[in-house]
Amino acid sequence: MRIAIVDESAGRAAVIEEGLRDAGLSDVTIFVERRGIAARLEALSPDVVLINLANPHRDELEELFALSRAMARPVAMFVDQSDTAGIEAAVDAGVSAYVVDGLKKERIRPILELAIRRFRAYSRLRTELDEARSALAERKAIDQAKALLMRKRGIDEPAAYAALRKAAMDSGRRIGDVADAIVTADRLMGDL
């Protein structure tokens, strides 16, 4: 089974490839760069093309699949309408696939299910990473705001933190947002 993964995210493509290899599928090629992709895909002639749903080049690839004489023509996975739940799970996870016509459903299904699991795992990972990053940014803003208050009002750190917390409670905002506002205001106002 020859599989192509087309994805602008090299990280996500690697995560999927790893999953496929763990499942014993080793004939996997990743396409991240758009340039020359049509010719390279034609030369590879894959049985299954996994592609992220929102890939900006899907219209070009669908045209290639419709016209290519050199490769067996992959058709949208959605051609098998009997599997509505599977299709919806794929669309929800952000996966799209093109499969060479005639390939048995039983052989495709585990690949697609694996791709869906890996797509979901990847977006969970991204969300966690984003949350970690924003927590880090918030921590930094609070530290900066505390330093500003200590310097400009001549108070110590616990007092600066208490002032931040009170301002947040009084205005019904998060302490990170108040800190961010103070740092931004200071940048705008300078030493005024």
Binding site: P56, D59, V79
Partner: protein, 402 residues
């Protein structure tokens, strides 16, 4: 009042304006709709989201709505078009050195003469010219093919036509991957602005008042809540009224240019919506009064004859089968009955007929209405042919074979 959530998928193009404005100018809210917009970069994604319930409606290529209903390239899913989002608004942009051989650079020209010179270049025996269109089932593809055939160029043998997504049009021209492209705004203007393309023709020169993007819904979704569909159409209609208000142009260009919408230059977008086109870098903008229609002359009315014309072109291109049932199915995608039912309470002009002789209006013409007065402007094809939906076979028989 709780507002009904409703999602519309779109591609970053100027003719996605009406759904965007229906949200941003409060018309959807006035109708009790909590409208949100889902941006994508390929029509395949917009279509998937529509078919599998990520969106309730989509800004879609008119022929793609027909192809999806007919099951071309994927299983058939019935779609309906109760409202047209725009007529024309596309252009054909060529590599600057190719443009210099076929047109007066920087100004609009006679598309028949430009086509004849292009035919000479195509037959000169050099490398085969390659044109980009935004999708296999796009008005861009069919209008380009119609023009090429009318100029004696075989779109399948004399040149090559490939698919390029709109946001990559300028890059593909710059990289020499294509010699020309038929694409919507602002992407022609982006190529002109970068100096990698020259506009040779606008599509209103090929088929004046030709149907372009539509509002497409799954037929089942549209019919399960007719009241919601009607409210949405009224919000879109009011967005059209705002779109043509000269006093609001700057505001509208600024909204469309936002990062969550077209993410582009408000200046270039402003040119398109005021029908002022810069044909080549450094040239003065030219007034092209009929560049795009988003509202006037009942531009949003889904004429069944326009769906029929598109099916005819799909037949010419070999995309659709010769099948009387398919022809009927294609025509039924356009739903003037829903348009009329939705807009009747607004007291706006409603055409009495659902079909017309396309290309049959030479001078502005008053037409029969069920309410209001309506004058339709010329709808000519560049080759002066006309299309009678009741005589498809005769039309196809008369279509020249290059």
């Amino acid at each position: 009042m709780t507002r009904t959530p409703f999602r519309i998928g779109f591609l970053p193009l100027v003719d996605a304006a009406l759904p965007i404005l229906a949200r941003e100018l409060g018309f959807a809210e006035d109708e009790g709709i909590d409208l949100s917009l889902v941006r994508d970069l390929s029509w395949a994604t917009v279509n998937d989201r529509l078919l599998y319930g990520h969106s309730d409606a989509a800004h879609l290529l008119a022929p793609l709505a027909i192809a999806t209903t007919l099951g071309l390239g994927r299983p058939a899913t019935p779609l309906s078009v109760p409202f047209v989002l725009g007529l024309n608004g596309n252009a054909i942009t060529l590599r600057p050195d190719l443009a210099a051989q076929v047109t007066r650079v920087g100004a609009p020209g006679d598309v028949t003469a430009i086509g004849a010179r292009l035919a000479a270049v195509a037959r000169a025996g050099g490398r085969r010219l390659r044109f980009g269109v935004v999708h296999r089932y796009s008005s861009h593809n069919y209008m380009l093919r119609y023009w090429l055939i009318g100029c004696g160029i075989d779109p399948d043998r004399d040149v090559e036509i490939v698919t390029v997504a709109p946001p990559f049009a300028a890059d593909a021209l710059a990289a020499g991957e294509i010699d020309g492209i038929c694409v919507g705004e602002p992407w022609n203007s982006v190529a002109v602005d970068r100096g990698v393309g020259v506009i040779a023709a606008v599509t209103s020169q090929i088929w004046l008042r030709g149907v372009e993007k539509v509002l497409a819904m799954r037929t089942a979704r549209m019919e399960e809540d007719p009241d919601l569909t009607h409210r949405l159409l009224r919000a879109l209609y009011r967005a059209g009224v705002a779109f043509v208000d000269r006093a609001r142009r700057e505001e509208i260009a600024a909204i469309l240019a936002r990062p969550d919408y077209l993410d582009g230059s408000a200046t270039l977008i402003g040119h398109a919506i005021s029908d002022r086109i810069v044909f080549a870098r450094g040239a003065e903008p030219v007034d092209v009064p009929d560049f795009m229609f988003q509202h006037r002359e009942a531009a949003n009315f889904p004429w069944v004859s326009q769906a029929a014309w598109l099916y005819a072109q799909m037949r010419v291109a070999g995309h659709a089968r010769a099948d009387a049932d398919d022809y009927l199915t294609a025509q039924r995608v356009f739903r003037p009955d829903v348009y009329r039912a939705a807009l009747r309470p607004l007291g706006v002009p409603l055409p009495g007929a659902s079909s017309k002789l396309e290309g049959g209006i030479v001078d502005a013409l008053g037409v029969g209405t069920t309410q209001g007065r309506l004058i339709l402007g010329a709808d000519r094809f560049f080759d002066a042919r006309s299309f009678d939906p009741a005589a498809l076979d005769e039309y196809l028989a008369e279509t020249p074979v290059p």
